[in-house]
Point group: C2
Chain length 392, copies 2
């Protein structure tokens, strides 16, 4: 059952950016100004909306609304693209009766195409009157592109609620916010604490997933708090903050896994955990190296326990390893121990991988005590189809 969250309303509309004519506009709106924190793509080729949102974050602005369109990324669109962001803010602010700098903008879709502002205006106009606390799923659906299913959650404790939705599918790679994600809570805290919480959650979830090693121009994770809970968190040591962080982490990991499993054409989740590293960052880097290997992704697609392709990726980063110390397990079956191949039942493991929705790779480097996890998906003919068979 979906949980509504005091002050937040949602709506969806259709601008006509998508060839399918499916809904392609989402509005998130709050009756009261919200504390705003976020994480953005680290790609230097960025859409203008990313820069605009970052500027508002820096100014520590309270936020009233987020306008998200899918089907057109408004990236690589130069000065005209910047104007489109400003115009969208203007249209939305007018209709929503909020200030211009209380509106965040997000876009996702084709790169290098100017936004049709007439379509955008019509879409916003049609959506605003339908804002409603219950329209959460409609908004979550409207931001999707090639995603096959809606990815959302809502969780609550006696002291706070968190709800959120996300989209992923293609151009998914770590070291960035990785996709569009909107999180809303009522827990009362400062912007800096909210930022700390979202940084931590993104770092262990969306920053560790890869669908195709391509980094997007538009990605962002945004969290808003309307500060209406009966409790207030004042420091990051407060047990209530720790609990909030725990719930946020779990929610983001759940969403991140859903994104990977809904990677374009993906059929299997690949979960790689590297332990025995000197630092957590080292462990993650090697885990990501494996999770994003085209060859290993293809092997897993064929349910082939071809651990050699994973082994080869361990040595490809700039993290020093000793191949004679390394252990590898595939779905808890030991396949490589102290740098030596282990005899195992290939047919049994093949059948096991075939049956399940996911596969686990565990690597022990035996160089230290830190570990890290990355999530990837298999590479399929459908991925190639998705990304080659349509014409921009």
């Amino acid at each position: 059952m979906f949980m509504t969250l005091n002050s937040f309303q949602f709506s969806s509309g259709t601008c006509g950016f998508k060839k399918t004519k499916k809904p392609d506009l989402a509005i998130i709106y709050s009756n009261i100004p919200c504390t705003y924190a976020g994480v953005f793509t680290t790609n230097q080729i960025r859409a203008a909306c990313v820069d605009e949102n970052k500027a508002l974050l820096k100014k520590k602005k309270k936020i009233r609304a987020i306008i998200v369109n899918s089907g057109n990324a408004n990236a690589c669109t130069g000065e005209k693209g910047v104007q489109s962001v400003k115009n969208t803010q203007k249209i939305a602010a007018n209709l929503l009766k909020v200030k211009l700098d209380e509106v965040l903008i997000a876009s996702t879709g084709a790169i290098g195409v100017q936004l049709d502002m007439q379509k955008m205006e019509a879409g916003i106009k049609s959506a605003v009157p339908r804002l409603n606390p219950e329209n959460f799923k409609g908004a979550a659906k409207a931001i999707l592109t090639t995603d096959r299913f809606v990815k959302s959650f809502s969780m609550g404790t006696k002291d706070f609620k968190i709800i959120g939705f996300t989209k992923g599918a293609g151009m998914i790679h770590p070291n960035m916010a990785t996709m569009l994600c909107y999180l809303m809570t009522d827990l009362k805290m400062s912007q800096s604490l909210l930022q700390e919480a979202v940084n931590t959650a993104v770092n262990i979830s969306f920053n560790n997933i890869s669908v195709d090693a391509d980094m997007s121009t538009n990605d962002m994770v945004i969290i808003l708090s309307n500060n209406t809970s009966h409790r207030e968190v004042k420091t990051s040591k407060d047990p209530l903050f720790l609990n909030f962080q725990k719930v946020l982490n779990e929610s983001c990991i759940k969403l991140a896994k859903q994104i990977v499993l809904d990677g374009e054409g993906a059929q299997k989740l690949i979960e790689v955990t590297v332990s025995g590293a000197k630092t957590e960052e080292n462990a993650k880097l090697i885990a990501r190296s494996i999770a994003s290997s085209n060859l290993f992704k293809c092997a897993i697609h064929g349910s082939d326990p071809n651990w050699g392709r994973a082994a080869a990726k361990i040595g490809c980063t700039n993290i020093k390893v000793n191949q004679n110390k390394i252990d590898i397990l595939l779905n808890n079956t030991s396949v490589f121990r102290n740098g030596n191949p282990v005899a195992f039942n290939k047919v049994k493991l093949n059948k096991e991988i075939k049956k399940k929705k996911g596969v686990r790779v565990n690597v022990n480097l035996k160089l230290g005590k830190k570990s890290g996890t990355a999530f990837g998906c298999d590479l399929t003919k459908e991925y190639v189809n998705f990304n080659s068979a349509y014409f921009t």
Copy 2:
């Protein structure tokens, strides 16, 4: 017409490492000791043969023979794998009547499988009696794995000859030697000059290609000189050395392009040139970033002039760029100028890409005067098929 090279003989044999029972053993042999230089994979997960060959290079050994087996990489095989390399050297040295440390070893194929030394011995035994200067193509064919065609060349001037062959197909990514390649010449020069020549050639050819961004455990480029030419090169400023370097560069670029075009399932060559960079290395890094983008590779597979996917990859490296200065051309058609999309005839460009075997991407960063090129290939359903549909 193939050119033989005084002192060099070739042979191929069948050990039975390949399920297809096709030839899987090549011998390169020289009647006289050869100066030896080479470049090796930078992957820390390396096959034992790579370490052995590097040790011989360090000792400045003269070389008499190279034994190459395909179908089994003998990588991730621990101490037993090291012994297999030593045993192969022993068997070959005995049969070829050369010293043990005059034999280089190379392997390519499945990772993590121990070499069957009985099969190896039988293969070498059957191949040695058939050594012949004319068996060049047979040897070039025997080292292939999933390659669809033999990649070789021979070139000569009045002062020297160079012949060579290579294999590629999968697990092809820069920052390494990138595949197996054997080059032979007669031009008389020191080991250090020969090493300088091969470093330069690899740097502008094999180090700039990507099929699937996976880096192999076994890759090497080896060059041998039997020093029998009537001319001797003493310094790298000698016009004859410069001419040799030029011929070697051209040959390696030709082979590198053939490797990419024969990438698993590849149908189109993607040639990316980045200019206006501050350093050549910066230009190459960005060119490689584009050439290895799964999304752009898929677009090109569909002949879709989706330059936005290339643009997105420009900002993903740690090289600082200014998106408002960037120009992009696709097959000489301007699609992005000073950070703004340019209107162009999409249908015409789509048809043009469809017709040709390759596509050219030109990026101008307008930050400096250096440029660099990288080669990639499209991503196809056949690639996925190749790498998922067989069982290790």
